[in-house]
């Protein structure tokens, strides 16, 4: 690597770190306002109690738990997709893994905080550590989220080290930080080898952890006796949903930053095409799980379960339910299965629709079951209050703010991997191809 060369071929990737436009500050200020408003609303909730939300007696969980599941779901984007792509040695992964990992890191913090926001007595949070009961699914959940957060942060950090070293070498602001964080990485063969080894260990480790996280979250629900929750497929169903929403979130982030930071040269149509296909596959898989889940309920026709079922299909939550089906299945299916509509804009629309749809799916899972408990005499409805909406808005803006802050300190696209790809991937791919292809048609080595 030629560090002295000041005009890098990937200069555009460094640009966001050193230059911020007017729009950046306006957006940041706006988001900060939204975030602070959410904080104020939370303080208000702390002072007055959870009554400021719209939750009530049968519907004891609402927006916060929905957001919790939703955000943790998105977090799968990251690590899982990047790990799977890395593991499968998909070369097109190079410009997208970083963003995916950043999503995971930020969203896990936001999502992980939601159960605490949901607590009636957050001041007693230490009770969980002092006298926690391991029998409670909430404890499993806490354990797995902590593990996932640790693993995914390291997984984000390790591939970042060479880039930090690059930034350190360029000098400029945050140099102290870069020096500390780069751990004296110089790109020697040995360092490279150790780093690659560490990354490959982590990417194998992170996959089961990620799957366990969402399975455990689903268990919070399915371990209870509530109709509509007490289901065995909840584990895989949640994982599929999580990956689904994760991909959608990743696509949105990619398209937004491609536009904002002019990454057109790195994030090309082919990336979106592949991700779009993946989204379509997940959409079909999601539909399959949803269908299986509700068909068994309907066929069994248990009165208790049917009350929830009917509430979702034709009752009070029918608009949301069918909107979910449209968002999660119909729109992606129509857009993504047709090559004419499968443009970047089309994929963006599909992704946004999936994000909305997956949020609705969490809503559909959490609220109707609580609103229609086993004993028919206490039913409820749930109308969220301003507090919940503003805290959700704050969480969303915290997500964007986090991303923006990250982009001001670290490159959003893994520069060293791009460089590595430029140097090595053709050789690697042709090597690999030669392994699978019948011996007659070997491609020539390009050096």
């Amino acid at each position: 690597m030629n560090n002295s060369q000041m005009v890098d071929e990937d200069e555009v990737l460094f640009k966001p770190i050193y230059h911020s436009g007017k729009g950046f500050y306006i957006l940041a200020a706006a988001l900060l306002t939204v975030f602070l408003f959410g904080v104020i609303m939370y303080v208000r909730q702390l002072v007055y109690g959870l009554g400021v939300t719209g939750m009530n007696q049968p519907v004891t969980w609402g927006f916060y738990i929905i957001s919790f599941v939703f955000f943790i779901g998105i977090s799968h984007a990251g690590t899982l997709i990047s790990a799977i792509l890395r593991l499968s040695k998909a070369e097109w992964r190079r410009p997208i893994t970083r963003m995916a990992e950043v999503i995971t890191g930020i969203v896990l913090v936001i999502g992980g905080l939601h159960p605490i926001i949901d607590l009636g007595r957050p001041d007693r949070i230490m009770h969980i550590f002092e006298r926690g009961r391991l029998q409670s699914p909430l404890l499993w959940d806490m354990t797995s989220i902590t593990a996932y957060f640790t693993a995914s942060t390291i997984y984000l950090y390790l591939p970042l080290i060479p880039d930090i070293a690059l930034l350190r070498d360029r000098g400029g602001r945050f140099n102290k930080l870069y020096t500390i964080l780069s751990w004296g990485y110089q790109g020697t063969e040995k360092q490279k080898h150790v780093l690659e080894k560490a990354i490959s260990i982590l990417m194998v480790m992170v996959i089961p952890i990620a799957i366990s996280v969402h399975t455990v979250i689903s268990w919070i629900f399915s371990m209870t006796l509530q109709p509509g929750w007490h289901s065995t497929i909840f584990g895989p169903y949640f994982v599929v949903g999580a990956i689904f929403s994760g991909i959608a979130a990743l696509i949105i982030v990619m398209i937004v930053f491609r536009k904002a930071y002019h990454f057109e040269d790195y994030l090309k149509d082919i990336h979106f095409n592949y991700l779009g296909t993946l989204l379509l596959v997940m959409s079909l898989l999601w539909f399959y799980f949803t269908f299986a889940e509700y068909l068994t309920t309907f066929y069994g026709h248990e009165p208790v379960e049917m009350r929830v079922f009917l509430y979702k299909f034709i009752g009070g939550y029918a608009p949301w339910f069918w909107l979910m089906v449209v968002c999660n299945f119909l729109i992606p299916l129509i857009i993504l299965s047709n090559s004419k509509t499968k443009t970047i804009t089309g994929i963006l629309v599909a992704s946004i629709s999936v994000s909305v749809g997956m949020w609705l799916e969490r809503l559909i899972i959490v609220v109707p079951s609580l609103a229609n408990p086993r004993l028919p005499f206490q039913t409820g409805i749930y109308i969220p209050s301003l507090t919940e909406f503003s805290i959700f808005a704050a969480a969303a803006s915290a997500f964007i703010l986090g991303f923006m802050a990250f982009s001001k300190v670290f490159p959003l696209i893994s520069i060293w991997e791009i460089k590595e790809g430029r140097e090595e991937s053709v050789r690697l791919v042709s090597d690999r191809l030669n392994q699978y292809l019948p011996s007659k048609g070997h491609i020539k080595k390009i050096v």
């Binding site: 009530n56 009070g316 005499f377 206490q378 039913t379 409820g380 409805i381």
Partner: protein, 729 residues
């Protein structure tokens, strides 16, 4: 030292932070108001006292728990033969009225439309001057007294006072009196109770025995025992509430048609010739009445007008005639319809056909010898008189109101309010400024029930029980027992008065003295006796020994009451004289039609006069059965509701000729199709928690001709959905 701008800002910042930290620390260290009672504590000694509940005529004995002499809880006295340890919602929460922040703390006089505090002597002088002036002019007829009291002692005092002062227009509005008035009208006497030892069939006309009656707690238990013995109860009524629920058979009928149903059943008895032959002697003009019934009340005719299938009428009739000692029962509830008293008298005829075998009367020796005319409201004017006088002649000079909030629990309130403001002098003895006492010129607040001394009698249980309502706490405020005011007035006004007692306490003690002399009974210290004890006591032996009356009085207060476990009963069979009433004609009642539904206003259990709204717990729990809180709801048959496309728990409006009011729709399959059942009790606009609607404001002006009670079940109404937003349940 030079200070630049930056330093200056820093300095200010430090100062502000310092003050904030210091102030915050001080605020944290400050003792919050809520903790004061913990920090400055008294001895916290717990004691229990026995008293009687004054919330209804039931006469339950209460055990009140006091901490440092302040009552905090009330429970039933397990040794009381009436409630046997049980207690109702009203009794449970009766303590909190004592602490009610809206209680009037002393006599008030209205000056220029505002109440000002005055001394008791001044207030008393104003009252007696006003009365004296009217009496001087010999215009006693222009004085009206409306007293709502279930206390026999106070009823007695009012009777004595009005006699002494020559006031004719005394309206005693008490539950027992109201219930029995039709009997007094027809027979000059009334039965005391259903004799559960003899009775083997109860035909209940709209009375909610175990919920709202002369002694709900006693009836709760007795009816269960009655059914456990295998006897049947048939209930007729428009609403299946807890009280009627404890029946074996339910006949759906509009309350205004009870009379026709009763006569239809009487028809069966007469036709089958299965009536008691004694009835021919009991009923004056028996033959004409018999003919009248046989001519007009063929079951098919009754079916046409009431909707009750003729087979059902015949079945009930057969049950009634087969029973050895049946009782057809009604109470005050029946009077709230345009045929009210007439219906009641039809039921009396039905009872007379079986010679009132199911009823009994406590032997005179126990009550009447102790207190004259204990419960009777007979001979007193009806509320109708007041309404007619005020509407026609406008000549009422003085109105005395004790315990009654008649504006709130009457229909046609606007007119009443207008008319009542024309009365030159109104004195109220209310403890609160409520819808009625706000029109008073003078308020002399009464004690709370827990501050009063009184004796409770309740004949309707058939048990000879007297419970002592003793003050468990010293009066909180400068209130005066209305009884004391009446006694003082009696001495001042009534020249002829020979009332020797100085106050209520004195009078109550004199009644107790009679008990002491009489000794037919025992302290309420145990309610189960062995056979030997029974025998011994029957022949007059008693183990109670008292050195003096004071000794007895102290034991009586400690025991909370006195009762005669073996009190003898009299059979009840008076002469019925219904001259001019039968043969008569029932008003035709308009039935609900497709768009004109019937607004059926019902009373919540135990809320006799809509006084629940005083108590925060009861107001919150008012609609707990349907999980509707702080709102007025309408119970409606799901089929009717669907016809108007009303969802369960959706909000709607009920429209009557008087206006419309919002309600929450509640599906109840046991409501008559075509009826809108709306509860009465909420909707106070001056007092209590301002929750819900008072449906009486929207009823048409239909009254019972005799008693003047408003009809609560005949107003026609429409229901309109107001929005699709559903209410939480």
């Amino acid at each position: 030292m030079e200070i630049n701008r930056r330093d200056f800002v820093k300095l200010i910042g430090t100062a502000v932070a310092g003050i904030a930290v210091g102030g915050g620390a001080a605020a944290i260290m400050k003792i919050p108001k809520s903790l004061e009672h913990v920090l400055f504590s008294g001895p916290k000694k717990e004691t229990w006292k026995l008293t009687a509940c004054g919330r209804c005529p039931g006469g339950c004995s209460l055990r009140v728990r006091l901490i440092d002499k302040f009552p905090i809880q009330a429970f039933g006295n397990p040794l009381s033969p009436i409630n046997d340890g049980g207690i109702c919602s009203m009794g449970l929460t009766s303590i909190s009225d004592l602490y009610h922040p809206s209680r009037i703390t002393g006599p008030l006089k209205k000056v220029n439309g505002k109440f000002v505090s005055i001394s008791y002597n001044e207030a008393y002088n104003i009252l007696s001057e006003n009365l004296k002036n009217v009496i001087k002019e010999n215009r006693q007829d222009d004085i009206f007294i409306i007293a709502q009291t279930d206390s026999a002692v106070r009823t007695d005092l009012f009777n004595k006072f009005s006699k002494a002062a020559g006031i004719k227009n005394l309206i005693i509005d008490n539950y027992e009196g109201n219930s029995l008035n039709p009997y007094y009208d027809a027979a000059g006497d009334a039965p005391g109770f259903i004799d559960f030892e003899k009775c083997d069939y109860i035909l209940n006309f709209g009375s909610r025995l175990s919920e709202m009656s002369q002694s709900p707690l006693y009836f709760s238990r007795s009816l269960i025992d009655f059914r456990e013995k295998g006897y049947k109860i048939t209930a007729a009524g428009s609403k299946l509430t807890g009280g009627i629920f404890k029946s074996d058979e339910w006949v759906r009928i509009q309350p205004a048609q009870f009379g026709e149903l009763a006569l239809g059943i009487a028809y069966v008895l007469l036709k089958d010739e299965q009536y008691d032959k004694n009835a021919e002697k009991l009923i004056t003009g028996f033959d004409s009445i018999k003919k009248y019934i046989l001519d007009n009340y063929y079951p098919d005719n009754v079916e046409k007008s009431t909707g009750v299938p003729s087979e059902t009428i015949v079945q009930i009739g057969r049950k009634f005639e087969k029973a050895k000692a049946p009782a057809a029962y009604f109470d005050e509830t029946i009077l709230y319809s345009s045929n009210g008293t007439l219906n009641a008298q039809a039921i009396i005829i039905l009872n007379a056909l079986k010679s009132f075998k199911g009823f009994g009367k406590v032997k005179d020796s126990f009550y009447s010898s102790i207190i004259n005319n204990a419960n009777a409201a007979s001979g007193n004017a009806a509320f109708n008189t007041f309404k007619n006088t005020i509407a026609n002649k406008n000549s009422i000079k003085v109105l005395m109101i004790s315990g009654s909030n008649f504006i709130f629990n009457n229909t046609d309130q606007e007119k009443l309010k207008k008319e009542i403001s024309s009365i030159p002098f109104i004195v109220s003895f209310s403890s609160f400024i409520d819808e009625t006492s706000t029109y008073a010129n003078l308020i002399i607040p009464d004690h709370n029930d827990l501050e009063k001394l009184d004796l409770n009698f309740n004949e309707s249980t058939g048990k000879s029980v007297i419970t002592v309502q003793q003050p468990v706490v010293d009066p909180f405020y400068k209130t005066t027992d209305t009884g004391d005011v009446i006694i003082s007035l009696m001495k001042d006004l009534g020249a002829k008065s020979d009332f020797p007692y100085t106050g209520v306490a004195d009078y109550v003690k004199s009644i107790a003295k009679k008990l002491y002399d009489n000794r037919t009974g025992t302290l309420m210290t145990e309610n189960k006796f062995t056979e030997i004890e029974k025998g011994l006591r029957k022949i007059g032996w008693t183990s109670d020994q008292y050195s003096s009356f004071d000794d007895f009085w102290d034991s009586l207060l400690e025991a909370g009451g006195w009762w005669n476990p073996f009190g003898d009963k009299d059979a009840f069979a008076p002469k019925i004289n219904l001259a001019g009433k039968f043969p008569g004609k029932f008003e035709t009642i308009e039935m609900p039609s497709k768009n004109k539904l019937t607004l059926n206003i019902f009373m919540k259990n135990l809320d006799y006069r809509g006084s629940m709204s005083l108590n925060p717990v009861l107001v919150e729990q008012f609609g707990h059965l349907w999980s509707v809180f702080y709102l007025t709801w309408v119970e409606i048959n799901p089929e009717t509701a669907r016809r108007f496309s009303l969802d369960d728990r959706s909000s709607a409006f009920i429209k009557t000729s008087k206006g419309k009011f919002p309600v929450v729709v509640v599906y109840n399959s046991s409501v008559l199709a075509g009826n809108l059942d709306v509860p009465f009790g909420l909707g106070h606009d001056i007092l209590g928690d301002k929750a819900g609607i008072n449906p009486l404001m929207f009823t048409e002006n239909i009254f019972d001709k005799v008693s003047g009670k408003p009809s609560l079940t005949e107003t026609k109404a429409e229901i309109v959905s107001s929005s699709s937003r559903s209410i939480n349940g």
